[in-house]
Amino acid sequence: MTRTVPFRRRSLIRTAAGLAAAATLGAPAVLRAQTRTLRITTWGGKWGEMMKGQVLPAFEKEFKCTVQADQAFPFLPKLQASPKGDPIYDVLHTNSNEQWKAVDEGLVMAKITAREVPNIADIYPYAISDKIVGVSIFTSAIGLGFRTDKGLAKPTSWKALADSKLAGQRGGYIIPVNSLGQAHLMMLGKVYGKGLNDLDAAFKAMAELKPIKLVDFTGQMEKMLLAGEVSMGVIHDSGIYRYDGQNQPVDFAIPSEGVLALEQVLNVTPGSKVRDLAFAYIDYMLRPDVQKLLAEGVWYSPSNRKVKLDPKFDAKLFNTEAKVAQLIQPDWKWYNARKDDIDARVTRILRD
């Protein structure tokens, strides 16, 4: 769910789009039905089941509308390819870094405030900080997942992953396509160098992690940990906690240097014809009862301060000022601007 969409040949896409556009310019706009339709993107899996089963039907009933939820990736290229004046989505749900790409192209709004979405008044500052485009409704924490049956001490630092005992037993991501990998790279800059933006230190530390098993999305990392193919790997807390109660010998550790925030961000497209409904949807998703339901369903930390979680979740999720202080938010605008160079270097480092 955190994989960066593999399209960055936008010029090519635009050319194709231009050709198609030339043929159909001036086509009539769709006539809107009586009931308004809100078009959103949303995740699949357990989250998707809960959305489709409970959250969205309740929203539709309350706001007398129809919600069309697209669960099929890739969201951003589809939005890019659709007309700006009549975008294919009203609300875009992605991880944080994709929102940064979207705002660069004018595909989503730059800022959302409590004026449009009243519940923003109740959320933690990180969820609406300058590192976020739109509103973060939930976050996961990227830390270290590890096997509890391999005689490993619970890691307390990101440096634990570099332990020589873990050679070939540690797991990371194919950085160009995975934002957890990208966040981890920045974290290496902070842990081994001068800060999140210290790429030289990060590359050096990355080279030290070899041999390392690389995957392209988090589901694979979960399975590698469960299967014992890696003993420790970079992963988000919800990817480990979701196996809670299944007797799996895996656990999640919060390194002392902090965890990286993996935010679930909602934003509205400027061309949306149902903008009020779009804001209402974001507001709805920030309601304490909705937040509690989803947070406990998929182990996401809720953004709303007023959510009271059951003890099991309360113990682990980031839902107090003190715990939220451990979240580090990467500067995706900075990262995306350098992505091509970083991809090239990191590919070279990890290849041989």
Binding site: M1, R3, L12, I13, A16, A17, L19, A20, A21, A23, T24, L25, A27, P28, A29, V30, R39, W43, G44, G45, K46, W47, G48, Q68, A69, D70, Q71, A72, F73, P74, P77, K78, A81, S82, P83, D86, I88, F217, G219, Q220, E222, K223, M224, L226, A227
Partner: protein, 271 residues
């Protein structure tokens, strides 16, 4: 003398030949075997050796409404694509081979071009066209997309048959009293049918397995099986994927076998 003749000497050439063949078969079947092991293994990840046998992933697949809807949609679309590709591809091939069209080589290249173009671009271009035309993402739009990439297969296989077609056979029918339309239905069509249907089988499989074109064109709650599997994999990478793959393989295989039984893909003309 005869005893010596009966003793088969060790034939190194034949042994190597058999070994290479066995390796090739293993190479081709290994992925299917891995999928099957994964599908029947109780753990939610691939583990070897398997720790047991379970039907729970198949159960999960067959009881999942999303999976089932997607499976039927994919089959339905593939069936439409099969019919459309046969009609369009067969007619195009006939026109290309027989039509005395100017610039025939160019036209052939043009009709084959969806094969050269990355399918993802075909999907994207159609997606944009539909949106700009205000059509949204209708199912028939997806069928058109699949048909676009499937038609060249039918054209290719039909052209191959037409290329070796002895036109004297049609002349023989004409001289025996068959008008042009009867010649077509009595002789031409039956003779090119194996080529057309061989292409049709490709078209079916191309559509049933189609991912890149579908990626953009599926509508919310109307995703085809490959798209559903792709998205499912990102959240729940478990044996249900393998079970779905197994079912897909069996589906595609049985469609091919049924078509083979019904139509007889084994050509009675030289292809």
């Amino acid at each position: 003398m005869s005893a010596a003749r009966n003793r088969t000497p060790f034939d190194a050439g034949r042994a190597v030949y058999l070994a290479v063949n066995a390796l090739l078969v293993a190479f081709l079947l290994a992925p299917i075997a891995v999928i099957l092991v994964f599908a029947l293994n109780p753990t939610p990840y691939i583990s070897f050796p398997p720790v047991g046998v379970t039907w729970r992933w198949f159960d999960k697949f067959f009881s999942g409404a999303d999976f089932m809807n997607a499976l039927w949609l994919s089959l339905w679309i593939a069936a439409c694509v099969l019919v459309l590709s046969i009609l369009i591809g067969g007619a195009s091939a006939l026109a290309l081979a027989r039509g005395n069209l100017p610039g025939r080589a160019w036209l052939t290249a043009f009709f084959m071009s969806p094969l050269m173009l990355p399918a993802i671009l075909t999907g994207l271009a159609l997606f944009q066209s539909y949106l700009l035309a205000g059509l949204g993402r209708p199912v028939w739009g997806l069928i058109i997309g699949h048909t676009l990439v499937a038609v060249p297969y039918v054209i290719r296989t039909t052209l191959a048959v037409l290329h070796n077609f002895d036109r004297r056979i049609e002349e023989a029918a004409a001289v025996l009293g068959a008008g042009p339309i009867r010649v077509f239905f009595e002789v031409t069509l039956p003779l090119i049918r194996p080529g057309v249907f061989a292409g049709g089988v490709f078209a079916f499989i191309v559509s049933f397995d189609q991912f890149p074109v579908s990626l953009f064109l599926v509508q919310p709650n109307g995703e085809t099986l490959p798209v559903v599997l792709f998205n499912y994999m990102k959240f729940d990478l478990d044996g249900a994927i393998a079970a779905a793959s197994t079912v897909s393989i069996l589906m595609a295989l049985s469609v091919v076998l049924i078509l083979e039984k019904l139509i007889g893909l084994k050509a009675y003309v030289k292809l």
